[in-house]
C-alpha cells in the first residue's frame, strides 16, 4: 500500500499511465465510442472538410469522414503496429543479446558487429528501404520496424549480460553446475528485466513515431486505413483552411508518445533503485 501511494506521488508516472490507458480504452472501445463507425472505410463527400462542430467533434477530412471516429479506430492500428513491432524486436533482440553476452565466442563479436551496423544508421532510413521493397501494407510496416529495431535491444541486453557475468551469484550458479540456459533464464533475465521493461516502454513511443513517419511518407497501409501519420499527410493540401485536419491526429500522436515516455520514465524510477533522480 505504501509503495502504491509513493507511486501516485510521481506525477509523471500517473499522467503516463493515464494517457496509455486512454489509448488502450480508445482502441478497445472504438466502435461504441465513435460517432460514425462506418467512416473508417465509408465516407460522405457532401460533408467533406467541415470544421469541428456538433456532429463532427473534430471535423471531417477530405472524404467527409468524421475525424474523431477515424482517430479512435486509428488508435487500434497504432497499438497493433507498435506493440507487434516492439514485441518482435524484443523477441529477436533479447535472446541474441543474451547469447552474445553470456558466451565469449566468435559469434558474440559477430552478432554485436551486425547490431552496430544497424545502429550506426538512422532507423527510419533502413525502414524506408525495407517498407518500400515489401510494399504498402501494415504487416510490412511492422516488419520494417522490427527488423531495424531489434539491434537496439540486442546491444542493451548484451551490455547488461556482460557486466552481470562477473557477478558473484552467476559464478556461484556456474559452480553449482547449472546449465547455461538455466542461468540465462533464471538468473540473468530477472536481473535485467527492469531495464528491458523501461527501455521497451520508451521504445514504444519511438516505434509509434517511426510508424507515423512511415505512414506520412506513404509507406504504411493504403487508404482508407485510418493511420494517424497518413491522415496528417493527407491534410497538407488543404492547409491552412482545414487546420483541424492536421492538428487532431498530431495531438493524438503527441499525447500517446508522451504517455509512453512518461510511463517509461516513471517505471525507471520505481524499478531501478540505483538511479536516484532529482526530485
Amino acid at each position: 500500500m505504501k509503495t502504491f501511494r509513493r507511486l501516485l506521488r510521481d506525477r509523471a508516472l500517473v499522467i503516463g499511465v493515464t494517457l496509455v490507458t486512454l489509448l488502450v480504452l480508445a482502441a478497445i472501445f472504438a466502435a461504441p465510442l465513435s460517432n460514425f463507425p462506418s467512416h473508417v472505410t465509408g465516407f460522405d463527400p457532401s460533408q467533406r472538410l467541415k470544421p469541428p462542430g456538433e456532429t463532427f467533434w473534430l471535423g471531417t477530412d477530405r472524404m467527409g469522414a468524421d475525424i474523431y471516429s477515424r482517430l479512435l479506430f486509428g488508435a487500434r492500428l497504432t497499438i497493433l503496429i507498435s506493440v507487434t513491432a516492439t514485441a518482435v524486436a524484443v523477441l529477436i533482440g533479447v535472446p541474441i543479446g543474451l547469447l552474445a553476452g553470456y558466451y565469449e565466442r566468435w559469434f558474440s563479436d559477430l552478432l554485436m558487429r551486425v547490431s552496430d551496423v544497424f545502429l550506426a544508421v538512422p532507423q527510419i532510413v533502413l525502414a524506408i528501404a525495407i517498407a518500400q521493397t515489401l510494399g504498402p501494407a501494415i504487416q510490412n510496416v511492422i516488419l520494417a520496424l522490427s527488423a531495424t529495431y531489434w539491434p537496439f535491444w540486442a546491444r542493451l541486453v548484451y551490455a547488461e549480460t556482460r557486466s552481470l557475468r562477473n557477478e558473484v551469484f552467476i559464478e556461484a550458479a556456474v559452480a553449482m553446475g547449472a546449465s547455461p540456459l538455466r542461468i540465462m533464464v533464471l538468473h540473468v533475465v530477472p536481473s535485467i528485466a527492469s531495464s528491458i521493461i523501461v527501455r521497451t516502454t520508451i521504445g514504444m513511443g519511438a516505434t509509434i513515431l517511426a510508424a507515423a513517419s512511415l505512414g506520412f511518407l506513404g509507406l504504411g497501409a493504403p487508404p482508407p486505413t485510418p493511420e494517424w501519420g497518413r491522415m496528417i499527410a493527407e491534410s497538407r493540401e488543404f492547409l491552412p483552411q482545414a487546420w483541424w485536419y492536421a492538428t487532431a491526429p498530431g495531438i493524438a500522436i503527441l499525447l500517446v508518445v508522451m504517455g509512453f515516455n512518461l510511463l517509461g520514465d516513471g517505471l525507471r524510477d520505481v524499478l531501478d533503485p540505483r538511479i536516484r533522480r532529482g526530485s
Binding site: 544508421v121 538512422p122 511518407l217 492547409l239 526530485s279
Partner: protein
C-alpha cells in the same frame, strides 16, 4: 602524434561497418523481394522489359557473385541510374547533399546553442519553476512527430502570420556555389541580400529539426550536470572553499559536456532522420525530398542509393564524434 594513431585506429572500423551496411542494403534490395528485376522494372512493366533488366543488371547470376559486383559498383560510386531523373543516383545524391547538410548543421547549432545552457541552468536550479517548465517542454518536444511539427509551424508562421516563406530554399537562384551552402556562399560573395533571404528560408525547417534535438540535449545535459554535481570532486572543491562559480562553470560544466558529446552523435542521427520528413513538408531540395519523391515514383535504385549514402554519411559522422570524444577525455588515451 598519439592522437593521429588513435584516429587512424578508429578509422579502421569504418570499412567493415560500411561493408556490413552494403550487405544489409543488398539483402533488402536483392534478397528480400521475390523478384528483384520486377521490383526494379515496376509493377506494370511488360515481362520482356523485366527479363531485359534482369540480364542487364546481372540479376540472374548467383547471389554471391551479385554481391561482389554490387560492392565493386558501390565502391566506385556507381549506385545505378534513377528511373525518374535518368541520371546516376550518385550524382543526384551528391548534388543534394549540401542542402541537407546546411539545414542539419544550422539546426544542430541552434539545438546546442540553446539546449546546453538550458540544460545546465535547469540542473543548477533544480525543482525551480524554470526547471519544471523546461522539463515539461522537453517532454512534449520529444513526443512530437517531426513532420507534424513542421506542418504546424508552417501553418502558424508562414500561412497565418506570413513571417516566413512557405516552402523552398531561396527566392530565384541561389548564389554561385563554392561550398554549396547558400548562406556561406552568399557571405563569401558579399551578397548580403541573398544571405538574409537564405536565412529566412532556413528559419522554419531549422527550428523544426532543432526542437526535438534541443529537447534531447537539454535532458542529457541536465542529467549530466546533476550527476556530476554529486561527485566527490565537487564536494572536495566545495569543502576547500573554491568559489562556487569556478566549480560550476569550469569543472562541472566540462564533465557534463563530455557526457553530452557522446549523445551528440545520436542526436545528429535523429536530426538527419527527421530531415527526411521535414524537408518534404518544406520542399527543401535536399536528400529528404529526394527520398520522398523516389518513394512516390517507386524509383528503386534511388531509394537504395539514398539508404546506402545516408548510412555511410552517418557512419562517418559517428567516427568523427568518437575521435572528438577521445581527444577531449584524457581518460581514454
Amino acid at each position: 602524434m598519439r592522437l593521429l594513431v588513435l584516429a587512424l585506429r578508429r578509422c579502421l572500423w569504418m570499412p567493415p561497418t560500411l561493408l556490413g551496411l552494403t550487405l544489409i542494403v543488398f539483402t533488402v534490395s536483392h534478397i528480400i523481394p521475390a523478384d528483384p528485376a520486377r521490383v526494379l522494372a515496376g509493377e506494370n512493366a511488360p515481362i520482356e522489359q523485366v527479363e531485359a533488366l534482369r540480364r542487364k543488371f546481372g540479376l540472374d547470376k548467383p547471389l554471391p557473385q551479385q554481391f561482389v559486383s554490387y560492392v565493386a559498383d558501390v565502391v566506385q560510386g556507381n549506385m545505378g541510374v534513377s528511373l525518374y531523373t535518368q541520371r546516376p543516383v550518385a550524382d543526384d545524391l551528391v548534388e543534394r547533399l549540401p542542402a541537407t547538410f546546411e539545414l542539419a548543421l544550422f539546426a544542430m547549432g541552434l539545438a546546442i546553442l540553446l539546449g546546453l545552457p538550458l540544460g545546465v541552468v535547469s540542473a543548477l536550479m533544480r525543482n525551480s519553476v524554470l526547471d519544471h517548465a523546461v522539463r515539461l517542454v522537453t517532454i512534449a518536444g520529444l513526443a512530437t512527430a517531426a513532420f507534424w511539427l513542421a506542418i504546424l509551424l508552417q501553418l502558424l508562421f508562414s500561412m497565418e502570420l506570413n513571417l516566413t516563406p512557405v516552402q523552398g530554399r531561396i527566392d530565384g537562384w541561389g548564389p554561385d556555389p563554392i561550398t554549396g551552402f547558400y548562406t556561406v556562399d552568399a557571405l563569401i560573395r558579399g551578397d548580403v541580400d541573398t544571405f538574409f533571404s537564405a536565412l529566412r528560408y532556413l528559419a522554419l525547417p531549422m527550428m523544426t529539426l532543432a526542437i526535438p534535438a534541443m529537447a534531447t540535449i537539454v535532458r542529457f545535459t541536465r542529467a549530466g550536470v546533476l550527476n556530476v554535481m554529486s561527485s566527490n570532486f565537487v564536494f572536495y572543491q566545495a569543502a576547500m572553499g573554491l568559489p562556487r562559480r569556478v566549480v560550476i562553470w569550469k569543472y562541472i560544466l566540462r564533465s557534463a559536456l563530455i557526457g553530452t558529446l557522446t549523445q551528440i552523435g545520436l542526436v545528429f542521427g535523429n536530426l538527419l532522420a527527421g530531415a527526411v520528413v521535414v524537408e518534404t513538408v518544406y520542399s527543401w531540395p535536399g536528400l529528404g525530398t529526394y527520398a520522398y519523391n523516389s518513394i512516390l515514383q517507386s524509383d528503386y535504385n534511388a531509394i537504395m542509393g539514398f539508404t546506402l549514402f545516408t548510412g555511410s554519411v552517418f557512419i562517418a559522422m559517428n567516427l568523427l564524434v568518437d575521435i572528438a570524444q577521445a581527444v577531449l577525455d584524457p581518460r581514454g588515451r
